[in-house]
Symmetry: C2
Subunit: 213 residues, 2 copies
DNA sequence: ACCAAGCTAGCCAAATTTGACTACTGCCGC
DNA sequence: GCGGCAGTAGTCAAATTTGGCTAGCTTGGT
């Protein structure tokens, strides 16, 4: 699983109705091009694919108001909303060692109630500890450590990642439990999309020079 | 970049001459299916692709000695060896926040001389620190922290990952500097491939049940 | 008046990755 | 003496991802 479906669903959902370029801009606004695979091609592909699967509804729209080819606007469907929350919950819980997945979920976690987020994150910690136990038991007791030569550094690295990941998650749990942020049902939500025409304060400054990466 | 090219080149290189199924078994032996995308399809594709690009030389071989369709054996070329070391160096250095890339490089680092590995790892630490500085400067000073709501947790998470990643790398540097492991030019290398017919001590026990994942 | 940049919006071919499927062989139990 | 399971070696279609390309409008400078 990559993070792109959650990101695209989330962007469309926050707008109510959005075209591809708008989604693309939101993702840049969120810095997603830095930490996930959100090239234009991937975004447009995800939109089309999810429209074909009934997660999004495509509206054919007349030539754009601001240059370029005619645009297609998308709206999230009932089914898409279900998928959105399913992905969100899964990505908050799963220790999948792909940072982009957790990152995307962090960006949307406030769409869930505080108590549920806490439960999911605690489940996440449990999963990491389980994984750790399984790996150490499976790869270690054979002939004791030190038999592996430099290959042991691989396990060392993964255990270190798991441990620091769990520790960070516990910190987040503490902050959320302590009242940080505004979750679903707690009043005005924090909105993180660009309105039509608003300029992106995090734009890179570099011109779009034909999408060179 | 994914790790698969380095893994496949490395496996073929250690065997001298290997067919796809052998590579597939080595990767399972290394546990690579746990931490990288090494499905059979990816492996066979990588072999073919790299043969087409001149990194591997394909020998057509008669029907296999042990059932199944005829096999193709591969050998690494001069050009493939260059690519192998280029990837290895790049993956040890780059802070690319994709754990599989570093992991694959760790498995082969002993193919380089100790001093070079130390230099590459120190470069890696420098890169991480640079990245950290760029990110904090770029995303923070605008209106000070706390303006971002829960979105700030994303940066928090990435900084935490970078910091613990740098710390782990420093630990590895210390171990290597302290004389751990046997590097290129230091005597009998540690060989981590399965010989023809040797059974895999880390086989999962589960039957190969048609490659279900 | 006009033209070079740059922005808006999106498409496309090629490469890669995934998940499932095929075909053959040896062997074990009945 | 044969049915089926496990193992060997690989293929294939579909989905995804990448990197680059297109084409229409706007705007600032000359």
């Amino acid at each position: 699983m990559s993070a792109i479906r959650l990101l695209v669903l989330g962007a469309v959902r926050q707008h109510g109705r959005a075209h591809g370029y708008q989604v693309r801009n939101d993702l840049e606004y969120w810095g997603a091009h830095e930490w996930s695979n959100t090239k234009p091609g991937s975004i447009y592909h995800a939109l089309k694919q999810m429209a074909k699967q009934g997660l999004l509804l495509a509206h054919e729209i007349a030539p754009s108001t601001a240059g370029g080819p005619p645009r297609v606007e998308y709206e999230i469907t009932e089914q898409g909303t279900e998928e959105y929350f399913a992905l969100l919950r899964a990505y908050l819980t799963a220790y999948d060692q792909r940072p982009d997945v957790l990152t995307a979920a962090l960006g949307f976690m406030v769409d869930l109630p505080r108590e549920e987020v806490l439960a999911l994150l605690e489940e996440r910690v449990r999963k990491i500890e389980e994984w750790r136990a399984a790996v150490t038991e499976y790869y270690l007791p054979a002939e004791g450590p030190g038999q592996y030569g430099h290959i042991g550094e691989i396990m060392n690295y993964w255990l270190h990642s798991a441990d620091t990941g769990a520790e960070w998650t516990r910190g987040l749990v503490a902050r959320v439990r302590g009242g940080a942020y505004t979750f679903a049902g707690e009043g005005a939500p924090f909105v993180g999309v660009l309105a039509e025409g608003e300029e992106n304060p995090f734009a890179t400054g570099r011109p779009h020079d034909g999408d060179a990466h």
